[in-house]
């Protein structure tokens, strides 16, 4: 029986064309990933899902015990825990607030860095510095660092007063700015808050858009310059050619960057929920931590899908394959 099937398999293999045989070798190239997924990660994903319905205890002599307790973990974190809901809400709010600003900023900078000018290489090198430096632990250490906070608040720069435990000064100046904007321009409060918030977060925005600038820049390089030339001959201004050529052609990458920024914001270091999950894990509450992680992932996934679907309706694809 097995001989027969082996023979059949060989015959099948011999019937394939050379290209088809070569294509089968593709499995060899992707095998590290596929094997790793099947041997290690499939189990890890399933385990993590199971743990969220269990009470997990690590035993002294090695190994762990797990007891099925149904939805108790979820009930605990969503209904009993006073902070978790609030933290979730904050994470989502921060994300919704940051994404448009980061994406607009990085597109703007990428367009600027794509133009011909003196010192372009130097500027590019500087703007990619955050990709390398403003990640992970450095970001985290700066967040809680009183000196960095004092130096980064804008009034500290103007007045030249060295204040270490400040931030009261920063508050005051922003209040002034807000009042000024209310009085002078009659802005709506929401708009004022968004604008002032954006100005406050300028360090965050600059430091978290390195990868996005890289992606946009790569996309801008890929647009052939002959399109712009012909548009120019037809009498198209720079403004028009941005909105009629650059913007549609770059729109797939806007989707990519929005998705990347959402993930970055949900898993970033200034995110309280992530800290919360890590803390719960360190306390040994593996079941509750798993439940939190899955609730969080589900919310992130829902936002990703909704925003992704919404944005992808406006995306223009030049060559549909």
């Amino acid at each position: 029986m097995s001989k027969w099937s082996a023979a059949l398999g060989r015959k099948k293999l011999m019937n394939l064309t050379v290209t088809q045989k070569r294509d089968l070798m593709g499995w060899v190239f992707v095998s590290p990933f596929v094997l790793g997924f099947l041997l290690l990660f499939l189990g890890i994903f399933i385990d993590s899902f199971r743990f969220s319905f269990m009470e997990v205890n690590v035993l002294q002599q090695g190994g762990y015990s797990a007891k099925f307790i149904g939805m108790d973990n979820f009930h605990q974190i969503l209904r009993v825990d006073p902070y978790f809901n609030r933290q979730l809400y904050n994470a989502v709010q921060n994300m919704l607030f940051d994404i448009p600003i980061i994406v607009m900023y990085s597109l703007f900078i990428a367009v600027l860095l794509n133009q011909k000018m003196k010192g372009r290489a130097v500027f590019r090198a500087i703007f990619f510095v955050p990709v390398i430096l403003a990640t992970g632990i450095i970001d985290k250490a700066d967040l809680s660092n009183s000196i960095m906070n004092a130096y980064q608040s804008i009034p500290g720069l103007d007045t030249g007063i060295a204040v270490v435990n400040e931030s009261a000064g920063g508050m005051f100046s922003n209040l002034q700015l807000k009042r000024y904007m209310f009085q002078m321009f009659d802005f709506s409060p929401a708009l004022v808050n968004v604008t002032v918030g954006a100005a406050e977060n300028i360090y965050d925005v600059v430091n978290h858009s390195g990868v996005q600038i890289l992606i946009f820049l790569a996309g801008l390089q890929a647009i052939s310059s002959s399109i712009y030339e012909s548009a120019k001959i037809e009498g198209c201004s720079g403004w028009e050619s941005f909105w009629k050529i650059t913007f549609p052609l770059i729109s797939p990458l806007i989707l990519v960057n929005i998705i990347y920024s959402i993930i970055d914001s949900f898993t970033g270091s200034k995110n309280q929920v992530m800290d919360r999950i890590t803390a719960a894990m360190k306390l040994g509450q593996y079941g509750a931590a798993s439940a939190m992680a899955w609730v969080y992932f589900l919310i992130a996934a829902v936002f990703l899908i909704v925003i992704g679907l919404f944005v992808s309706r406006f995306v223009f694809y030049q060559n549909k394959e």
Binding site: G26, L112, G136, I137, G160, G219, P252, T278, A293
Partner: protein, 334 residues
Amino acid sequence: MSVAQTGTPMAAKRKGLLSGKLKHKYLKLFFVNRLFWGVMRYLLLIGLAFLILYPLLVKLSNSFMSPQDLIDGTVRFIPRQATWFNYETVIAYTSFFEGLANTFGIAFMSGALQMLVCTMVGYGLARFNFRGKGLVFTLVVLTILIPPQTYMISLYMKFSFFDIFGLLSAISGGTVRLMDSMWPMAILSIIGFGFKNGLYILIMRQYFKGIPKELEEAAYVDGSGLFRTFARIILPISISMMITIFIFSFSWQWTDSFYSSMFFSQIKLLSNSLLTGFEGLMLEGATVGLKNGQPLTATLTNTMSLLVILPLIVLYLFAQKYLVEGIEHSGVVG
């Protein structure tokens, strides 16, 4: 005389012509417009570049300040009594060089492994039309989307009680604890599940899609095998892209706190010492340890983070050419 007489009006005429030309060139709205936008562009770029470099400069000046300078209100950017005190304290307290060696080892290993594996997987996804390719690609995208924190707990469990299908426990009678060794990072890198590896695979795939197929076809016609073609033709031309991936993974591993604090709680790593901070450090002659929020504590943290990123800056200065080049040639477009 007459020559001079006739010469002057000629020169004047020429001058007039020249200035007219100049006027024609420089007083046009077009030129003014371009000048205005050029100046605006430089102002904006220089301002934002300053914003990026500013924290680094602050850290640099802060790290040389003595404790007296820190409480002196008139000292802002230039320390009055410059000192190496902060550096010495940090290096002694965190046993910096041991941490540097460990961090370098782990970051270099995972950078090199991830670079090779992601290049391979990316090539496989870009060039071959095997069955199930769509499924593998979807899985790669999913690994980008799912934050590692979701499966952090079971990952931790897996490597604490490591076992392959019960084989190991059958042989040695118990699971293996892989924590505090190179193995968790090595295994994760080899299977392409390390930090942001899905992104690297995606970048490599897009890059290989942009390379003309004719290169490989010519090699096949000349009788070169699949793997030889990959090693001799594909790898050499994609070297700048691979270096880009290496820079990403090296520096993100270097500053990573997620995997470091999970896998290497007992091994001295730079990121872990920075995460711990300097709270409770007893200085010479002091009766109480440093408190969080004190200027000196923050200064020491700044000095430490400067020391942590210094090797990365050196790496970046040497490699940024490849980074920009690699990204330019990648064409990450959808």
